[in-house]
């Protein structure tokens, strides 16, 4: 059994967390400036989240899209929902995950790596956020 019951729960945790971070200037500004469209395809449960830093944001620094859309991503990544949970918990080494086949990346991977220092503070915010949102049981110690 994975961390998430269904897509609904995944969107509530990870999707809402992305929106929460979109308001944090110190994290989101750099991502916004990248001008990239980064698409994440998750499985178990199936879900799609896309960070659109190319088009004008409705609020915050980027647009966060749930589910299918027609935008052409610059980079797309495929992983399980659990892998995403580990990532935002700061417990996933990107290179190791690639080596283990837990993560597929399409596109210029260096550009994603370039954003990692900017989003690093998110790893500390994620457990705090989960707690506030009533998902303390999902926090990885």
């Amino acid at each position: 059994m994975g961390y998430f019951e269904d897509a609904q729960e995944f969107y509530t945790c990870v999707g809402n967390f992305l929106e929460y971070m979109n308001k944090k200037e110190e994290i989101a500004r750099k991502v916004g400036e990248s001008g990239l469209i980064i698409r994440f395809d998750y499985n178990n449960p199936q879900a799609i989240l896309t960070i659109d830093a190319k088009n004008e944001p409705e609020e915050g620094f980027v647009n966060i899209i749930r589910g299918e859309h027609d935008l052409k991503p610059d980079i797309s990544m495929e992983m399980s929902a659990d892998t995403a949970h580990l990532f935002w918990s700061g417990k996933l080494n990107l290179m190791s995950a690639i080596g283990r086949g837990q993560l597929k990346v399409r596109g210029p991977i260096q550009k994603v790596m370039g954003l990692l220092p900017a989003i690093k503070p998110a790893y500390e915010l994620y457990p705090e956020y989960l707690k506030e949102a009533g998902f303390a049981d999902k926090i990885i110690k």
Partner: protein, 391 residues
């Protein structure tokens, strides 16, 4: 022993090695379904007469095409025209004979040759999920490890960027290690590719992804390169020295294809992009300082390697002695004693550190390395400071 949660080691490439190994090529290639081959090489290799030499051994195998001008860094344009030529040649597969750039170019071209479409559609990791057409690699340098690795890097010169590809199916089907193939390598190339191999071995050995199997391969490679690289450098005609280097370089290639590399490669990738210096030369200059930076995290492992080389001392001192040995090796091989001596301007260091801090290689470095840390490593390498364990 600490039991990892998960670890893996991929075996795909058949490696054949020895003085008479070329005589078995017809059988080896036929077994891979390569009755008709396309040869990929560069000008240096073909003018050294190595292609003609190999052809004498091919027997029934038919050569239906040759591409003999792959330049350094495997440019995208060249990879594209290579794949077009291979497609119309009627070849069953390619034989790449050369250094890292030649083998990488053949791996890149094999993507389009096998899967159709554009190589650009496969940029990234894990996107090639079926076997490609057969590929045999005959390295003529002892350094890149590309003959057994799951990576290929292609340079997009117009966009000044590099395209990275990672998939188990990028490992060549056959690697041929024959001492004759490297005896004609010039001294500088011997030194630079050899230090690249030593960096692969050290960084794989100390990587966060190292395991029992990669450790064995990496340790043996470290010991052999430190012993035989200076010999191969001064007496390049000696086939035994060359053969040892070929084996060690391939072992290091297997180790780092599985365990990845670390901060020295991150810095080398950044510096190569910004300054255009040869990859092996940069690694040779930076390796001692990268090791010194990691020392606090990997002292025990460095001591273990020092033991293999019968280097004296206890604990930290012994590890420092090993790093000192690496530095004196670089000096003996004619590497500049500092980045300054190599003509690297101090003003460039900041930009190099910034780029290196987000290079993929940094994520498997044993010690966390921030941009400031990397700048310190560069600054010490720039002045050519003594290895004293302070970094």
């Amino acid at each position: 022993m600490l039991i990892p949660e998960f670890s893996s080691f991929l075996l795909r490439t058949r490696i054949i090695m020895g003085s008479e190994v070329l005589a078995t090529l017809p059988d080896e290639l036929a077994r891979l379904g390569m009755g008709k081959i396309f040869i990929v090489t560069d000008e240096g290799v073909s003018s050294a007469g190595l292609i003609e030499y190999m052809k004498e051994y091919l027997g029934e195998i038919q050569v239906v095409g040759t591409f003999s001008n792959v330049p350094a860094d495997s440019p995208l344009k060249v990879v594209k025209s290579l794949s077009e030529e291979v497609k119309v040649s009627g070849a069953h597969g390619m034989v790449a004979m050369g250094g890292g750039s030649v083998i990488d170019a053949a791996k890149g071209a094999n993507i389009e040759f096998s899967l159709g479409g554009s190589i650009l559609d496969y940029e990234g990791a894990g996107l090639i999920d079926s076997p490609l057409k057969p590929l045999a690699a005959i390295p003529t340098t002892a350094g890149s490890g590309s003959e057994v690795s799951a990576f290929t890097v292609i340079h997009h010169q117009e966009e000044k960027s590099k395209l990275s590809f990672f998939s188990p199916y990028l490992c060549p089907d056959l690697a041929v290690l024959a001492p004759k193939m490297t005896v004609t390598m010039p001294g500088v190339l011997t030194a630079e590719t050899g230090m690249d191999a030593l960096t692969h071995a050290f960084e794989a050995y100390l990587s966060t992804e190292a395991n029992y199997i990669t450790d064995g391969l990496a340790l043996q490679a470290i010991a052999d390169i430190i012993e035989y690289l200076p010999l191969a450098y001064v007496r390049g005609v000696d086939e035994e020295f060359r053969f040892r280097m070929a084996l060690a370089s391939t072992s290091a290639g297997l180790a780092f294809s599985n365990a990845f590399v670390g901060c020295v490669h991150a810095l080398a990738h950044a510096m190569g992009g910004i300054l255009g210096l040869p990859h092996g030369r940069i690694n040779g200059m930076l390796l001692p300082y990268g090791l010194e930076f990691n020392l606090s995290e990997v002292e025990k492992k460095l001591c273990q390697a020092a033991g293999y080389l019968r280097i004296e001392g206890e604990g930290r001192e012994r590890a420092i002695n090993l790093i000192g040995r690496v530095r004196s090796l670089a000096k003996d091989l004619g590497f500049p004693a500092s980045l300054q001596e190599a003509g690297v301007e101090e003003e460039k260091l900041q930009a190099i550190a910034e780029l290196a801090s987000v290079d993929g290689a940094i994520f498997t470095n044993p010690k966390e390395a921030t941009q400031e840390d990397l700048l310190k490593v560069l600054e010490k390498a720039h002045e050519g400071g003594e290895i004293d364990g302070v970094l």
